[in-house]
Symmetry: C2
Subunit: 224 residues, 2 copies
């Protein structure tokens, strides 16, 4: 089995991506990043999901993006918005260059475990306002990965897989359910409490809830 590095946030998108990578026959090294999120519930969820879906290893890398700030997710002085998504506006939950940073760490980990495949759960449907969730970003990162690494220099092909990038939330949920993902283990809320209970009103909660509705599946999320 070929080794892959899978970025795992603890949310339902990356859980589905891990299940898809496993179904594609990869042995998966899961990587989560503790970047100064306001809560640790999603990292706890990532550890549960990694075990549940048979990841070979699971590592958590710390990078303190609070030093940089500039986001409602990393700066205690900026509230998480709860008024819904607005079309064409980059929301305050956007963390500057976050996915570039996460993929860079995944790239370093891929070099260490000699993997040429990185999976991540970018989604351009619900997160059209985030520059680093778009297909052109994935393509640019893949091009970078092929000149940035020992493997690339030696002529091997590095691939960045973003298998859910064009799927709706309902499609992601249905695909995950088919692959046996237990979504009760996942946490999507931007401001979950310590036990992982969701607020129900942040953008991420709204998108998740609407996704279960549209998929016609019961929402296992515990709201506080």
């Amino acid at each position: 089995m070929r080794p892959a590095v899978v970025l795992l946030s603890g949310g339902l998108d990356s859980a589905t991506v891990l299940a898809m990578a496993r179904a594609d026959g990869f042995s998966c090294h899961a990587l989560s990043v503790s970047y100064g999120q306001k809560h640790s519930a999603e990292l706890d969820a990532a550890a549960r999901v990694a075990r549940h879906l048979g990841a070979l290893t699971h590592k958590v890398v710390g990078v303190d993006l609070r030093t940089i700030g500039g986001s409602a997710l990393t700066d205690a002085a900026i509230d998480v918005p709860v008024d819904g998504v607005r079309e064409g506006v980059i929301p305050s939950t956007y963390v500057p260059a976050r996915n570039t940073i996460l993929l860079s760490l995944a790239l370093g980990f891929a070099e260490v475990v000699e993997s040429r495949d990185i999976f991540y759960g970018a989604n351009a449907v619900d997160y059209s306002g985030y520059p680093d969730c778009r297909p052109e970003f994935v393509a640019a990162f893949e091009a970078l990965a092929n000149v940035a690494t020992k493997a690339g220099v030696e002529g091997h092909r590095m691939t960045v897989h973003a298998p859910i990038i064009r799927m709706t939330k309902a499609e992601i949920i249905r695909r995950g359910a088919q692959l046996g993902v237990d979504f009760a283990l996942t946490v999507s809320c931007y401001q979950a409490d310590a036990t992982g209970r969701a607020c129900g009103v942040c953008d991420s909660c709204r998108i998740r809830r609407a996704g279960f509705d549209a998929a016609g599946l019961a929402d296992p999320t515990v709201y506080r």
Copy 2:
């Protein structure tokens, strides 16, 4: 004055780059990264250099690359090589995807301070064995920066400056000296002691010492 983000390691290359960015008329936000290096002397040096060369701000972001390992600089079990550089071989001091990670953090910081210019001290002459010190890597990262960010999406041009990439160490030292860089403040050694005294035998010490010789300037390095 336009704002720039300058990656500052504490070594002489990035000190010269900061002086060059200042000479080009940028107001400079210096960024250092504490990534699990074996010693903190270079971060202390970075703070001194930032003050000395008039950086507007200086931030240190922590990212624990020891979790990933795979390098003599981040894994206590791997010794720093002291037998000299070998042509065409990636040395064990290569930190997997390090420059991609450093530039990603610089990119996030650039978004926060609304800068469209990132400076970093890559050098393809002495570090030809490091994939992420080559001009094609810089070009690929710049292409990524232009699709990864809010500024890029809004049609602004992000530029990654690597002004010393094709310079020899002697040329870098002469340029820095012309610009008033006090190299006694810098630390290049891969295994400096707590006070910044250099080992004199690691690749970085050898390259630095040969550079002062070739430049015909006195080497202010304190060797232990």
